[in-house]
C-alpha cells in the first residue's frame, strides 16, 4: 500500500553553534499511523520536532503536507496546518483552569468582546467525551495530577484542530499505569484518523505503540523500519551503533556495616502532601543500593531529607553513626555524606564560578582552603589542579568558569568534589542524565570504584538499565513507600510492575 504520506520532511538540516543537530533528515508520516522517533539524549529528535512545530526554522530542507510544500515559520502557522504538539515540559498555566488553558488564543466569544466561559466549558466537555480524555474543565491546573495535565495538553492540541499530534517523551512523567491509559487514548485517536509522532528513548514502549520506527543518531537518520518484527536489541543497536553494554563489570564485595540508616521516614513535599511515608532502608559500606521508580514518587524528597535540605516530619536518619535527622545540609555533609545532585546546572555547580571555586564548594570552610574566614587561594588552586588531573576533566584550567565545560566534564567536576570529600555515604541522583556514552561509562566506573573502596552508595535513577547494571540491591519506590526489594538479576518487567505499585501476589491473582 504505497499511498502518499500525509507529512514529509525532506533533507532537513539545522545547525546550532558548534553542533549539527539535524543532518539532511528525511522523515515521513502516513495518515492514521503512529510513527515513533527514537534516539538517545541529544540525538536531535526534539530539534526536528521543534522545527515541525514552527519553533525553529531549518537551515536547509523542506516540509510537505499532503504533497504541497509549506512554510512553518511560527507555531501559529503549524497550528493552522493542523499540527499540534504535547511538550515534555507542559505548556500549561498553573493558576488557570483547564478550560482556560485549552481555549487560550482561540477563545469562544460572547457579544464579540467577552469570553464565553459556558461555551468554552461545553466545547471542552464535548472534546473530552469524543476522545475519552476525561478532565474537569473548571479545575485549576496546578491542582490536578500529572496524568490529567497531559490529557489537558492533548485536548489543547485537538481543540485547535490538530490532525497530526507530536508527543515529546510523553511517558517520562507517567506511572506505568498512566502510560497504559495513554496508549489506549493514542489507539483511540488513531482510530479516529489522527496521525501521531511519538518521541521516545524507551524501547519497550516504542515496540508497543508504534507502527513504524525512525531512529536518529547524532542528527542523522539511521533507518526507518516497521515496528513489527523489531526487537529491543535491534532497536538498541540502531540507536547506539554498537552492542550496548547493558551491564558494567563488577566484582563481588563483602559489604560491611550499614553506614546510612533511614528509619520510618516521613517527609512532606512543597504542596503539603506526604511525599515519603514511613520509609526505612539501610545502605552498607561496600554496596550500591539502587532506588528505582517513576519520577515524582518521592525519590527527590527522600534524597533532600537525607541530605538535610528538607525538614523531616518523622523518623530518623543516621550517617555513619551520627544522627542527622534534623541537621542542616552543612552538618550532614560534615558528618560524612557526599551528594551528587540530580541537576548539575541548577544544583551541582555554580556555572559562573571557576573550576577551582566549584571544587571548593564544601571544603572552603575549613583549612587548608581557608583560615579564620580568609580564603587560601593557592591551596584551592593546587587542590583543583590535582583533582582535574585525577578525574580526567577536559576543557579547562582551575581558573576556567565551569560554564565553559561540556556536560560530561561538568559532571566529572561534581564527582571529583564529592569524592574528594572522602564521604562515608555517597548519594548519586540521576548521575548520568544528559551525558554521552563515554561520560556515562566514566561515571559508572567511578561509582563502582567507590563502592569497592568501602563506601555506601545510594543510587537513584530513572533509567532501569543503570539501576540494574550498577546496584547490588534494588528497592522500588512508589508513592513514597518502598514496595519491593529485588536482586540485580531482576527483569525490567518485574521492576516496572513494582513501580506501578503492584506486588507479586497481585500478579499471580
Amino acid at each position: 500500500m504505497a499511498e502518499a504520506p500525509l507529512l514529509e520532511l525532506r533533507g532537513i538540516t539545522k545547525r546550532f553553534p558548534g553542533v549539527l543537530a539535524n543532518d539532511k533528515v528525511n522523515f515521513d508520516l502516513r495518515s492514521g499511523e503512529v510513527h515513533a522517533l527514537l534516539g538517545e539524549n541529544g540525538a536531535g529528535k526534539s530539534t526536528l520536532m521543534n522545527i515541525l512545530y514552527g519553533l525553529y526554522t531549518p537551515d536547509e530542507g523542506e516540509i510537505l503536507l499532503r504533497g504541497k510544500p509549506i512554510e512553518l515559520g511560527s507555531t501559529r502557522a503549524a497550528i493552522e496546518h493542523g499540527i499540534g504538539m504535547v511538550h515534555q515540559h507542559f505548556m500549561l498555566i498553573p493558576v488557570m483552569s483547564v478550560a482556560e488553558n485549552i481555549v487560550l488564543a482561540t477563545e469562544p466569544r460572547r457579544r464579540g468582546v467577552l469570553l464565553d466561559y459556558d461555551a468554552a466549558r461545553k466545547r471542552v466537555r464535548e472534546l473530552s467525551d469524543r476522545y475519552g480524555l476525561i478532565v474537569d474543565p473548571d479545575a485549576r491546573v496546578d491542582h490536578i495530577t500529572v496524568g490529567q495535565q497531559q490529557r489537558v495538553e492533548i485536548l489543547k492540541a485537538l481543540f485547535r484542530g490538530a490532525e497530526i499530534l507530536i508527543l515529546d517523551e510523553p511517558t517520562a512523567v507517567l506511572t506505568p499505569q498512566e502510560a497504559k491509559e495513554l496508549f489506549e487514548i493514542l489507539r483511540s485517536l488513531k482510530a479516529q484518523g489522527k496521525s501521531i509522532i511519538f518521541i521516545s528513548h524507551k524501547l519497550n514502549e516504542v515496540l508497543e505503540i508504534a507502527d513504524r520506527v525512525t531512529t536518529l543518531r547524532r542528527g542523522v537518520v539511521v533507518d526507518t523500519i516497521a515496528a513489527e518484527g523489531a526487537t529491543e536489541e535491534s532497536l538498541a543497536r540502531m540507536m547506539v551503533g554498537r552492542e550496548v553494554l547493558l551491564r558494567v563489570d563488577k566484582k563481588a564485595t563483602h559489604p560491611g556495616d550499614p553506614l546510612l540508616q533511614v528509619e520510618n521516614l516521613t517527609v512532606i513535599d512543597d504542596r503539603g502532601l506526604q511525599a515519603v511515608s514511613d520509609l526505612s532502608l539501610s545502605v552498607r559500606g561496600g554496596e550500591i543500593l539502587g532506588i528505582a521508580g517513576v519520577d515524582a514518587n518521592g525519590q527527590s524528597e527522600l534524597i533532600d531529607a537525607i541530605a538535610g535540605l528538607r525538614p523531616v516530619k518523622a523518623g530518623r536518619i543516621t550517617v555513619d553513626g551520627t544522627d542527622v535527622t534534623h541537621s542542616r545540609a552543612k552538618d550532614t555533609l560534615d558528618a560524612g555524606l557526599g551528594h551528587i545532585p540530580e541537576d548539575r546546572h541548577r544544583r551541582g555547580l555554580v556555572l559562573a564560578f571557576t573550576l577551582s571555586e566549584n571544587l571548593a564548594l564544601h571544603a572552603y570552610r575549613k583549612p587548608p582552603m581557608s583560615l579564620r574566614g580568609f580564603l587560601n587561594l593557592r591551596a584551592m588552586l593546587g587542590r583543583a589542579r590535582r583533582l582535574l588531573k585525577e578525574f580526567d576533566v577536559r576543557g579547562g584550567q582551575p581558573t576556567t568558569p565551569a560554564a565553559a565545560l561540556s556536560g560530561g566534564n561538568q559532571q566529572k567536576v561534581v564527582l571529583a568534589r564529592e569524592i574528594d570529600g572522602d564521604p562515608k555515604v555517597l548519594i548519586a541522583a540521576q548521575p548520568t542524565r544528559g551525558l554521552d556514552v563515554g561520560a556515562i561509562e566514566f561515571v559508572h566506573r567511578r561509582l563502582v570504584e567507590q563502592r569497592d573502596a568501602g563506601r555506601a552508595i545510594l543510587l537513584v535513577s530513572l533509567e532501569l538499565e543503570e539501576i540494574l547494571s550498577l546496584s547490588d540491591r534494588i528497592l522500588v519506590i512508589y508513592e513514597g513507600r518502598l514496595v519491593g526489594e529485588f536482586p540485580p538479576t531482576a527483569t525490567e518487567e518485574e521492576l516496572g510492575f513494582a513501580m506501578t505499585g503492584g506486588t507479586r501476589e497481585e500478579a499471580v491473582a
Binding site: F16, P17, G18, V19, A21, N41, G42, A43, G44, S46, T47, Q88, H89, P94, V95, D142, E169, G219, A307, G308, L309, R328, A329, K330, D331, T332, L333, D334, H339, P341, D343, H345, R346, R347, G348, L349, V350, L351, A352, F353, E357, A360, L361, H362, Y364, R365, S370, G373, F374, L375, L377, P401, A403, A404, L405, S406, G407, Q410, G434
Partner: protein, 419 residues
C-alpha cells in the same frame, strides 16, 4: 516556584542545545548578578558615560543653550582641573604647622572645588557599596537612601548628645552608631527576604519612604529631635568633639575631612571581603546560583540577611560621615531633598559592582553634582536649578545605558560584522 523559567529549563532539558550552552560561554543565568561580575573591562562604563553625557548635551542644545560651554563651566566647578595645573608650590602638612614642597596649589579655587567634590564623593562611595555588595549576592538593594538617612538620624542624635566626651571616642561612637543603625534597618529587608521571601525591592522602597517621613517627623516642627529653635525644623548642631578632623582647607569653609579616607578604606574592605574571605565566597555563590549554594550546605537565608545588613552598614556609615564631616546638623528639608542613596545606585551600576569601579564612578558623580551646584556654576551660563535637573537626567541616562551592557554590545557588533 511556579512559572516557566526559560533559561533554567534549557539547562535541564534533554535538548541538544542545552549541552552546547556550556561551550558558548557563561550559561544565561536568571540572576542579573552574573552580568555584573568582575572587572570585565572598562569599555562599557566609559562608553555608557560618554553616551549619557552626549544625550544630556543634546537636551541642553535642544533647549537653546550651548552644551560645550555648559560642560566646560561644570568641569571647572568640579575641581578636577586642579590636577592639570602642575607647578611648584608649598603646602602645609595636615595637622601640623610645617610646610613642604608640593606640585599643586592647595589653596586655589580649583583646590577648593576639588575639596567639595571629594566631600560629596565620600557618601556616594558608601551608598554605592551599599548597592554593590548585595548585588553580588543577587539582591537589589534600592534602599540605600533610607539606610543612609537612618545613619544620619542616629549620627545627629548621638552627635548632639554626650558633649564633653573624648573626641576620638565620640567620633567613633557616632560613626559606629550610624553604621549599626543602617545595618539594622537594612536587616529588616534582609530578614523578610530570608524568611518569607519578600522581594527586597518592594520592602526597601517602602523602608526608604518610612525613613523619610519618620526623619521629617523627628526633625520637623514639634518633633522630638528638633533643635532649640522652635520655628525652624532643623536639629541642633553636633558637638564640636563629634566632628571629623578636616585635613585640607578650612573647617569653616567646608574643607575636606578625613572621611574620604574612611570611604576609600571601605572600598578596600569591600574588595577584600568579596574576593578573599569565606563570607565573600558564600555571597558570590548565592548570587550566582542559590540552589547550588544550598546544596553545598551554604545557608542562603543567612547570606541574604548578612548581605543586606552589611549594605545597610555601609550606607549608614555614609550618613554618619556626612554629618560628622561637613553637615553637622540635619533639617526636615534636607531629608526630603536628599537623593544620595540613588546616586550611589547609579555609581554601583556604572562601576559594575567592583571596588575600583564604584570608586571611580562615585568620583564622577561627585564631580558632576558639585560642578552643577549653585555654589560653583555661573548662573549666566546655566541656571543652577536647570543644572541640577540636568544632573538628574544624566544620572537616569547612565542607569538606562548601563543596563544595555554596551561593552558586550560592542563585542557582539564587532563579531557580527566581521563574518
Amino acid at each position: 516556584m511556579s512559572g516557566a523559567d526559560d533559561n533554567v529549563e534549557l539547562a535541564s532539558s534533554q535538548d541538544d542545545v542545552s549541552q552546547l550552552e556550556g561551550t558558548l560561554g557563561p550559561a544565561p543565568s536568571t540572576h542579573f548578578a552574573s552580568r555584573f561580575d568582575g572587572f570585565t573591562g572598562i569599555i562599557a562604563p566609559v562608553l555608557t558615560t560618554i553616551l549619557a553625557f552626549l544625550v544630556g548635551g543634546l537636551v541642553v542644545a535642544l533647549t537653546g543653550k550651548n552644551p560645550i560651554k555648559v560642560y566646560h563651566a561644570v568641569w571647572n566647578g568640579t575641581g578636577l582641573n586642579w590636577f592639570f595645573h602642575v607647578g611648584s608650590y608649598t603646602a602645609r602638612i595636615p595637622f601640623t604647622t610645617a610646610h613642604m614642597w608640593f606640585p599643586w596649589d592647595t589653596a586655589s579655587i580649583a583646590a577648593q572645588n576639588l575639596q567639595q567634590t571629594l566631600l560629596i564623593t565620600t557618601p556616594i562611595i558608601l551608598t554605592g557599596l551599599a548597592v554593590a555588595f548585595p548585588f553580588r549576592c543577587g539582591l537589589f538593594n534600592i534602599g540605600g537612601q533610607g539606610q543612609y538617612l537612618v545613619g544620619t538620624i542616629f549620627a545627629v542624635w548621638l552627635g548632639t548628645s554626650f558633649s564633653g566626651l573624648n573626641p576620638f571616642l565620640h567620633v567613633l561612637l557616632v560613626l559606629l552608631a550610624g553604621a549599626v543603625a543602617g545595618a539594622f534597618y537594612a536587616g529588616i529587608a534582609g530578614i523578610l527576604k530570608a524568611t518569607v521571601g519578600a522581594h527586597e525591592v518592594i520592602s526597601t522602597i517602602m523602608l526608604n519612604w518610612i525613613a523619610v517621613w519618620v526623619g521629617a517627623y523627628l526633625f520637623g516642627q514639634g518633633g522630638p529631635l528638633q533643635g532649640s529653635q522652635p520655628a525652624i525644623p532643623i536639629s541642633n548642631d553636633i558637638v564640636e568633639g563629634a566632628k571629623l578632623p578636616v585635613f585640607w582647607g578650612l573647617k569653616l569653609l567646608q574643607g575636606l575631612s578625613v572621611g574620604i579616607f574612611i570611604a576609600i578604606a571601605m572600598l578596600v574592605v569591600y574588595w577584600i571581603v568579596i574576593n578573599r574571605t569565606t563570607l565573600g565566597y558564600e555571597v558570590r555563590a548565592v548570587g550566582f546560583n542559590p540552589e547550588s549554594a544550598r546544596y553545598s550546605g551554604i545557608s542562603v537565608a543567612r547570606n541574604y540577611f548578612l548581605a543586606m545588613a552589611i549594605a545597610g552598614g555601609f550606607a549608614g556609615l555614609g550618613g554618619a560621615l556626612d554629618i560628622t564631616g561637613w553637615q553637622y546638623r540635619i533639617g526636615e528639608n534636607d531629608i526630603h531633598a536628599s537623593t544620595i542613596g540613588f546616586i550611589g545606585l547609579a555609581a554601583a551600576l556604572l562601576g559594575r559592582n567592583t571596588a575600583l569601579g564604584v570608586g571611580l564612578a562615585s568620583l564622577l558623580f561627585g564631580a558632576l553634582i558639585n560642578g552643577t551646584s549653585g555654589r560653583q556654576l555661573d548662573p549666566s551660563i546655566f541656571r543652577p536649578d536647570l543644572a541640577g535637573n540636568l544632573t538628574t537626567i544624566i544620572q537616569g541616562l547612565v542607569i538606562l545605558f548601563v543596563g544595555l551592557n554596551l561593552g558586550g554590545l560592542l563585542i557582539w557588533l564587532r563579531k557580527r560584522f566581521s563574518t
